[in-house]
């Protein structure tokens, strides 16, 4: 197959670069993480090429999907199957797992959500209800918000489009509602549900693991997990903000689902940070807060990426991963991550809740009640 869009090159006119130029900032850690992610995907594409198939896609999530890759990042992946059931699919998934281990990649987290098979039917048909397990919700929402493909994209594109089609077509309020905003609530509610699920699971893991790994999970919840939620909100808001009035006049009276699927598909190809930058470029009056937000995130990635060794023989990342809860208050590195997360939080709150822009109006209208 001739690949036309394989996402293995740096985007020259990234919205992040445009925003950094406008606010006069340099976010070197973001740039370095993006370059590492692109390079890592290029290497993986070569390493995993024998597993390519038009009926399945190798999906990567997490920092590699978000272009926030650091040397200590683990590799969250699934083999997404969208084709005739084949017992060999499991063998392929196991072979991918073996290959990645052989190549020295850090394995996915211990919950078992990643690192194996995922099926299109579950992702498409089981939205809500008792069969929509925590793992299924996680795979589906992260497929939308932070996934990218290694190799053939066919299955990924089909499944993503079908999931979006369900969220949009079955959203009666989107097509028949009387509100002035055109925001897909079914999709938005699922994204909001996932954000709250992550927050609740944070507490559950704290209990189940006896606080082990608290510091790192805490900072990730405050930063990268919150960013994922924000990018989901923005994707939903983009149906209102980015589709011009004349298009809306064509789309909504006719209940033309596909133009909105296409719009969201394109939108979701942006990483969460690109999505955020793309939106903030429209609000020049918020540049001070935009700069603060991105600087905080850049600082956060700087800590995760820092390979220098502390006096205790660990990197900052490993130090945070192994820090006990009793040491948190007195630990300067954890306190610095807290300070970074507070700057991030303050900027997010200003932009999304107090800015008196269409963004804050939409957030209050859809993001709270």
């Amino acid at each position: 197959m001739k690949q036309l869009d394989i996402g293995l090159t740096l985007v020259a006119d990234s919205p992040i670069d445009k925003l950094s130029t406008r606010v006069g900032a340099k976010w070197e850690n973001l740039r370095a993480a993006r370059e590492r992610a692109v390079e890592k995907r290029r290497v993986l594409q070569a390493d995993l090429s024998e597993f390519e198939n038009a009926d399945s896609s190798i999906i990567v999530y997490g920092s590699l999907g978000r272009d926030e890759f650091t040397l200590g990042s683990d590799l969250d992946w699934t083999l997404l199957v969208d084709g005739i059931a084949d017992p060999a699919h499991l063998e392929v998934a196991l072979a991918i797992k073996d290959k990645l281990e052989e190549l020295g990649h850090k394995a996915p987290g211990r919950e078992g959500v990643f690192g194996s098979l995922a099926f299109s039917h579950e992702l498409i048909h089981q939205i809500g209800g008792q069969d929509d397990t925590n793992a299924n919700t996680t795979r589906r929402i992260l497929l939308l918000l932070e996934s990218t493909v290694i190799g053939k994209r066919d299955a990924h594109k089909r499944v993503l489009s079908s999931v979006l089609h369900r969220y949009l077509k079955e959203d009666r309020g989107l097509w028949h509602g009387s509100t002035q905003f055109r925001v897909p609530r079914f999709l938005l509610n699922d994204i909001a549900r996932y954000w709250r699920t992550m927050a609740v699971d944070f507490a559950a893991k704290q209990r189940a693991r006896g606080n082990e790994g608290f510091a790192m999970r805490n900072i990730k919840l405050r930063m990268s997990r919150k960013l994922i939620f924000i990018s989901g909100l923005l994707a939903c808001f983009s149906c209102h903000l980015d589709v011009d009035e004349s298009e809306k006049q064509k789309i909504f009276p006719a209940i033309a689902v596909q133009p909105l699927v296409e719009h969201l598909y394109r939108r979701l190809k942006l990483t969460p940070l690109e999505s955020l930058a793309d939106t903030l470029l429209r609000f020049e009056g918020l540049d001070t807060w935009s700069a603060q937000l991105f600087k905080a995130y850049d600082d956060f990635l700087g800590i995760l990426a820092d390979e220098s060794i502390l006096r205790n023989g660990k990197t900052q990342r490993v130090h945070l991963e192994r820090l006990s809860v009793d040491e948190l208050d007195a630990d300067p590195i954890f306190q610095r991550t807290r300070e970074i997360s507070h700057r991030f939080r303050d900027a997010v709150n200003e932009i999304f809740l107090r800015s008196s822009t269409e963004l804050s109006r939409l957030t209050i209208e859809y993001g709270v009640f």
């Binding site: 001739k2 089909r158 596909q258």
Partner: protein
């Protein structure tokens, strides 16, 4: 009602004479003469002058779906005998040299392909083909488009971009083995979602493999699947 008819290959495999006999009693006003295999081209071209096609207001010719690079130039020579007013439907994945097909201009109708094929399935791939064949028209296979993307988003993208090239529509349900089945309820509701993008005067050619008894029922199904939206001109030009 849209102009509608069958591909001869759908009602009588590899036997256009038999297909024309079967269709003679049906309510169809379009026909696609199918020569999907290379060896079928000569006999079909030789028979053209003898065929009773007066009832059809639209006739097209489906070129073979497989041939080698050496076979391509003589095939092109043969196809020059197809009447100029009949579109020649061609699969983009079988083209070896675009240059020798360019001479057909708008008579050449490029078809979007199914999942099995290596090319011609998506908007991006078709755009490259049309870049090579800028005057070519399009045969939009809605069954192929659905097989590639059941959300019909790819179908929407292709139709939106190439509506001005549309020459005819192929309709059937393309199953997982890429065979052309009768249109099911699931396919019907999917096709209905993009039917508004197909101008009502574009001929619809049914490719569902059906026996004689099923021809009328399949026409009804396809008519339901592609309702005439000529009352929505604004939207159709979206």
């Amino acid at each position: 009602m849209r102009p509608i008819g069958f591909s001869t290959g759908a009602v009588a495999y590899s036997d256009f004479q038999r297909a024309l006999e079967l269709l003679a009693v049906e309510r169809v006003n379009c026909i696609e003469l199918s020569a999907l295999r290379l060896h079928e081209v000569g006999p079909l071209l030789n028979a053209i002058g003898t065929l009773d096609l007066h009832r059809y207001k639209y006739v097209s010719f489906h070129a073979p779906s497989r041939f080698s690079g050496e076979e391509e130039p003589p095939l092109v020579e043969q196809l020059k005998r197809v009447p100029r007013e009949w579109p020649i439907v061609l699969h983009p994945d079988v083209i070896h040299s675009s240059a020798i097909w360019r001479q057909f201009g708008p008579q050449l109708a490029i078809e979007n392909m199914d999942r099995r094929k290596s090319w011609g399935r998506t908007l991006e791939e078709l755009t490259k083909t049309f870049d090579e064949l800028p005057d070519a028209t399009m045969c939009f296979d809605i069954g192929h488009a659905r097989q590639c993307d059941t959300s019909m988003t790819e179908a929407y993208r292709i139709l939106k971009s190439f509506q001005h090239r549309l020459k005819q529509i192929h309709v059937s349900e393309v199953n997982t083995a890429s065979r052309h089945d009768p249109v099911s309820y699931a396919a019907k509701i999917a096709f209905q979602e993009v039917a508004y993008l197909i101008p009502s005067n574009v001929p619809v050619i049914i490719e569902s493999r059906v026996n004689q008894a099923e021809i009328g029922r399949e026409i009804c199904r396809v008519t339901e699947a592609l309702p005439d939206h000529s009352w929505l001109p604004l939207l159709a030009n979206a």
